[in-house]
């Protein structure tokens, strides 16, 4: 083939904010890492000169915003995702080299402009923004753009770029190979709001209205670098190796796995075939809604309304404040809806990650009820806590959090750090402040029950937020809650799902979450599979977590999902776009290699297995904190038969979980005493190039223990 970089734009943009320079390097060297996370990790390794840093606000930190070969193509639910990597802010006990991810059209536009990734290094002397128009790149002073919220910033930049184009109304001008080119497409902008500018741990990156790289404080990283925004305009296209194969795979996915638009199966099981449905968790403002989707998506999980608020907000940001709002509005859902959706808008405009807010607010309310929080109290706060639930209160609270004022000063470096600073460490240890791992809130899935969620999070760097296995919980439990017979039997479900994981797992026992099996090698292999799957197919190729992996699918007579299938599996799309001949399991192996590279960085940051622990309550208390009725999961009973079993009322055994970690480290060729990479293990992964740096920092693990 003439172009060996099919799927790639071909160039990576290096931005040295300290020196005020931009440079282009070829993507060729990095092709082996896929895109997204793998590409980002490889670039971080090459360009971050001091990987021992543990605060993302350190000027030595390097941050990468990376697209993938799928970005800008019509690969289903993949074309619009974008990965962000670098050392984070606000994790506990250490802010690891970590990741976040967002949707929309930024990564696609970046590719159309000719770039696979942007590497941001150093710290600008004054606030700046990055102007990318095809091959032309400029670092420009932010001036009065600094201090604006994300909505105002984007509107101002769109307007400015239009004015700079001069001439035709509504047309943006871009440099082309043969002179100016014109587009009506608004520039794709990724930016920070006040939270990022004030470098608080909740600072995130926002793109368009409701796309955010929320977790891990990357907004604070940009704030520390004096980087307000990256605006991209592109008039190119993505070179696809085999367009006919890509189209055929997309049609096969639609024909065999996706929802029937005209006759949707509302009791469908499996993420790929779920009918399009807005992922919003509170009554929408009204019924006048248009579907909104990331570029290339088959679903459209967002909405635009005709009321001027709540546009494109989704998921957790539409529910975390709602219990308080309902109370404030005395059950008036219409009134409450306005506050809930305006709250989501406020978070996005301030550039605040809403994820810790719900659980954090519960903790603060408890402290206030105990008489510990308020004006002149143990934890001083001048906010009007009598108005919790109102728009007025939440505006004040969010502003305080974004600017690190009032209660925001306490948690500016993270919520667990704030609890410790306030002398309330016991609240975190006991689960009163429900932050389970790495200084992050429990996602909504208890690690004592949902094993892959907890285990995988601990062997990585942040709340893993990957739902492929977790969808089992939802489809099973929702069926039972509504009184339906489960659409797929427990025995069939585990067989179909684990068949996709072979040869990484040996059989269905990999999904047996029964207490007797919860520390087994079988479960460990499933966690390994899912970790590596996510590292490559989701985080690097940037398949959307809401749709992939499709392990089971009731649109199919054999109930087997699109994942790894011959007609519409992940590898089919990959090969069509890139021209490679990758098998599905080759992709998992690439994910494994990427994870090992990440682990090498964590080792340089000082990671030791003793840090890889849950908050104490996970080991000390049974999971029966809440009045939740049951948590059904496929398990084998004492007769060896599969059934959906309630997992509530159990805890993690510290010793057994430590043993699980030891076996995991050994299986991955790591030093079981520390969890650190070994020379032999690195060689096995083709990562010899990291050995010298690990050795220099005395971070190599011991071979004799493996």
């Amino acid at each position: 083939m003439e172009n060996k970089l099919y799927g790639f734009a071909g160039k990576i943009l290096l931005v040295d904010l300290g020196a005020g320079t931009t440079t282009a390097v070829s993507s060729e060297k990095y092709r082996q890492w896929g895109g997204g996370h793998g590409l980002g990790s490889a670039l971080f390794w090459d360009y971050c000169k001091d990987k021992t840093i543990t605060d993302g606000r350190d000027p030595k930190n390097v941050m990468v915003v990376a697209a993938s070969p799928f970005s800008g193509t019509n690969t289903p639910s993949a074309g619009g995702r974008c990965e962000v990597v670098g050392v984070g802010v606000g994790q506990y006990p250490v802010s690891w080299y970590t990741r976040s991810n967002f949707g929309g059209r930024f990564s696609a536009t970046l590719k159309y402009a000719g770039w696979d990734a942007v590497v941001v290094m150093g710290r600008a002397r004054e606030p700046v923004w990055l102007d990318i128009r095809n091959h032309e790149v400029a670092i420009r002073p932010a001036g009065k753009l600094w201090g604006t919220d994300t909505k105002t910033l984007q509107q101002k930049l769109w307007q400015r770029l239009l004015e700079e184009a001069g001439g035709m109304e509504g047309w943006y001008r871009l440099p082309g190979k043969r002179g100016p080119e014109y587009s009506t497409q608004k520039p794709a902008i990724l930016c920070i709001g006040p939270a990022g500018e004030h470098q608080v741990a909740q600072g995130c990156l926002i793109h368009d209205s409701g796309n955010g790289a929320g977790q891990c404080g990357f907004g604070a990283v940009w704030g520390s670098k004096n980087l307000k925004a990256i605006a991209v305009q592109g008039s190119g296209a993505v070179a696809v190796a085999d367009p006919a194969a890509l189209a055929a795979a997309r049609f096969a996915a639609k024909e065999h796995y996706a929802a029937d638009f005209d006759n949707p199966d509302l009791r469908h099981w499996g993420p790929f075939g779920v009918p399009a449905w807005p992922v919003i968790f509170f009554d929408q403002p009204n019924e006048h809604r248009r579907v909104q989707a990331c570029q290339g998506c088959i679903a459209g999980c967002r909405a635009r309304f005709n009321v001027g608020y709540g546009n494109e907000v989704s998921c957790q940001e539409t529910e975390w404040y709602s219990p308080h709002v309902i109370k404030w509005c005395k059950g008036d859902k219409q009134k409450a809806s306005e506050i809930v959706y305006k709250t989501a808008d406020l978070c996005n405009q301030l550039g605040l990650n809403s994820y810790p807010m719900g659980i954090g607010l519960d903790w603060l309310i408890g402290l206030r009820e105990e008489g510990r929080l308020g004006p002149g109290k143990e934890i001083d706060s001048k906010l009007d806590w009598d108005k919790v639930g109102s728009l007025e209160f939440i505006r004040e609270l969010l502003e305080a959090l974004a600017r690190g004022e009032d209660i925001g000063a306490l948690v500016a470096d993270g919520w667990v750090q704030g609890a410790i600073k306030a002398g309330r460490e016991a609240d975190w240890r006991s689960g009163k402040l429900l932050f389970t791992y790495w200084g992050m809130p429990e996602h909504g899935y208890d690690s004592r029950l949902e094993l892959e969620w907890g285990y995988e999070t601990l062997i990585c760097d942040r709340d893993m937020n990957s739902h492929s296995i977790n969808f089992i919980f939802w489809f099973v439990n929702i069926s039972v809650i509504y009184g339906f017979k489960p659409r797929i039997s427990a025995e069939k479900l585990v067989k179909v799902a684990t068949d996709k994981m072979k040869p990484w797992v040996s059989g269905p026992e990999a999904l047996d979450y029964a207490t007797a099996n919860m520390y087994s090698d079988a479960v460990m292999d499933m966690v390994r599979w899912h970790t590596f799957y996510s590292r490559f197919w989701k985080n690097s190729c940037l398949l959307c977590d809401f749709r992939w992996a499709d392990l089971f699918n009731t649109n199919r007579p054999d109930l087997s999902g699109a994942t790894a299938s011959e007609t519409a599996g992940e590898q089919v799309f990959w090969n069509a776009v890139t021209g490679e001949h990758l098998s599905f399991n080759d992709g998992i192996a690439r994910g494994r290699r990427i994870w090992h590279l990440d682990n090498a960085i964590w080792a340089l940051q000082g990671r030791h297995r003793d840090m890889m622990v849950f908050a104490d309550y996970v080991y000390d208390k049974d999971c029966d904190t809440f009045e939740f009725p049951f948590y059904l999961w496929p398990c084998r009973n004492s007769a060896g038969e599969w059934e959906y079993t309630d997992l509530l009322h159990r805890r993690l055994d510290r010793e057994k979980f430590e043993d699980w970690k030891t076996r995991f480290f050994k299986k991955e060729g790591l030093d079981p005493g520390s969890g650190r990479p070994t020379r032999a293990g690195l060689k096995e992964q083709g990562l010899e190039f990291v050995t010298a740096e690990l050795e220099r920092h005395k971070c190599l693990g011991r071979e004799d223990k493996v």
Partner: protein
Amino acid sequence: MSTLKRTEAERLLAEVPYRDRLRTVRMAMPSGMRPVSLRSLEEVGWFLEPSLRTLPGIRLENLADWIEKNFADLETADKLRRLTRESPSPAAACKAAWSVITARVEEARGVVDG
């Protein structure tokens, strides 16, 4: 015609101290289960109101115990216990419980408002 006395009705409309709150969860696919604290019968009603977007995560037996203990409302508690036994599904039980709680709150409000 309600048989509730005014003092009973006032108690049913009252809010329990924070330490006696009922802790439940709201289930939102795929976001997860979010803790929700309930302190009054009126709030329980709002919590149980059927929604297309989320599900209430609650054990009705425990709700019945909580109501009996904190509001001394044996009648409502027994109705909830019966619902738990007789409803075809947890979702149906929650929907029926919503009706029971809402009616009880309305009844109490009617007595208090005269």
